[in-house]
């Protein structure tokens, strides 16, 4: 059981800055995120794209913003629980019991949902029968590549994941790479490598094809792919891999009894608390009149939600408003007091 004052759901910029604000006012927190790294959409969707509207930072990339926020919260030694999705919240007298997908449990005074547009999940094939083979011979990520040795693998996608795995697996497996067009979004050097391997017969590249059907008994035995012009090819294979990036899903958040409207959670603008006492929502996932989905708005919302958390964590104390320029307590927490 992890006991802390506040559990933050989501390690995007809003969640990270909220952790900072909690630290400044002397509350402890831990952060859960479904991705394998902090940064949320900034790191997953646009790590290299410059952002121009962070106050006082004329230009920075999603990755730089994330790294700076991590640096900013370093003094507070915030514990991260990555690759975990929060599944269940249960009220226990005055606190909350939280359970994650990986079986972790938390005992917290309040919860801040900074979940963006939901947790990132792999995008799946549109063909219905694919579901049946998930987790056995149809995969959206690779945990143990040794299972592919000497097998025939059909990889779908045109981004870096598809290209990199096609190149790597072509050493030990028979690889078919199938993509919907001639162009690729992955790195040019990888595209060239794939084409070279195709020319040398070490990999089979099929462009302008998409999946049409999969068949097999317990495991996949063959697939059919369809060309833009309508021609259908049957390919025998042991595994199918789909790399279509990630999509955001609200998931279990829908089941917690929160007022949800168009995939966002309604909050008050005084402290960003939801309709349930002790649960706050900030960043892209919250909605209120005038809401702007900007990172800077998320920072403001996090600052107020952090203060809203105070009365749940320390019901017998009063929070005094202080500035980091002058507050001895805040400077001690930051580890900068001389």
């Amino acid at each position: 059981m992890n006991k802390t004052d506040v559990l933050i759901i989501g390690a995007g910029p809003t969640g990270l800055f909220c952790a900072h604000q909690l630290g400044i006012i002397g509350l402890s927190c831990e952060i859960v995120d479904n991705l394998d790294k902090a940064g949320g959409q900034c790191i997953e969707l646009y790590p290299d794209k410059p952002i121009y509207d962070i106050p006082a930072i004329p230009e920075c990339t999603g990755e730089e913003l994330t790294n700076n926020l991590l640096k900013q919260i370093k003094p507070f030694n915030v514990k991260f629980h990555l690759n975990e999705r929060v599944e269940q919240l249960k009220k226990t007298e005055s606190r909350w019991n939280v359970k994650t997908s990986g079986g972790k449990e938390f005992d917290v005074a309040s919860i801040v949902i900074a979940g963006g547009v939901g947790s990132f999940e792999p995008r799946k094939f549109s063909v219905k029968e694919c579901e049946k083979f998930e987790k056995n011979s149809l995969l959206y990520s690779i945990k143990d590549k040794s299972i592919f040795k000497d097998k025939t693998i059909s990889i779908f996608g045109g981004g870096d994941s598809a290209l990199d795995w096609a190149i790597e697996l072509s050493n030990t497996s028979k690889v078919n790479l199938i993509h919907r067009r001639d162009g690729f979004s992955g790195a040019e050097s990888s595209v060239q490598k794939v084409k070279d391997l195709n020319d040398k017969g070490k990999l089979n590249l099929f462009t302008k094809y998409q999946i049409d059907s999969v068949s097999g008994d317990k495991k996949i035995e063959s697939i059919k792919i369809k060309h833009d012009e309508g021609e259908i090819k049957e390919i025998k294979c042991d595994y199918v891999l789909g790399f279509f990036g990630l999509i955001m899903q609200l998931g279990p958040i829908l089941d917690w009894g929160l007022n949800i409207n168009k995939k966002t959670i309604e909050v008050n603008t005084e402290n960003f608390e939801t309709n349930i006492n002790g649960i706050f929502a900030i960043g892209d996932i919250c909605s209120y009149p005038g809401k702007l989905k900007l990172i800077l708005s998320g920072f403001h919302e996090g600052a107020l939600a952090a203060r809203g958390c105070f009365k749940y964590a320390k019901p017998d104390e009063k929070l005094r408003f202080e500035f980091t320029t002058t507050s001895k307590a805040a400077q001690e927490r930051l580890g900068v007091k001389k």
Partner: protein, 106 residues
């Protein structure tokens, strides 16, 4: 204003006067037309505002910018007439545009 017609996958049709300067995506979101999610808010980063453009309109639309085709690789059942509706800015030239919304966005 320009008239934009949205056909949903369950054969409902919505014809909306969309203000010039807004995107076809925003026209759908502001009018509660189901089936366009636009998770990233128009940043060409998620492919959940994917639409199929009626064939005769394909050549009349502004060309795809770098990145739109890459994002369409991620879309649900992309076709040759696929576009991201966040990249289609409504103008007089688009008056009468018709788009079909896919069965789902992801």
């Amino acid at each position: 204003m320009a008239k934009i017609t949205y056909h949903t996958h369950d054969n409902k049709t919505y014809t909306i006067d969309v203000q010039k300067g807004l995107t076809v995506m925003e026209g759908a979101i502001q009018n509660d037309i189901p089936g366009i999610d636009a998770d990233c808010g128009g940043g060409m980063a998620c492919a959940t505002c994917h639409v199929y453009v009626k064939e005769e309109w394909l050549d009349k639309l502004p060309a795809k910018e770098d990145g739109e085709e890459d994002m369409l690789d991620m879309a649900f059942e992309p076709k040759n007439n696929s576009r991201l509706s966040c990249q289609l800015i409504v103008s007089d030239e688009l008056d009468g545009l018709e788009v079909n919304i896919p069965t789902k966005q992801g």
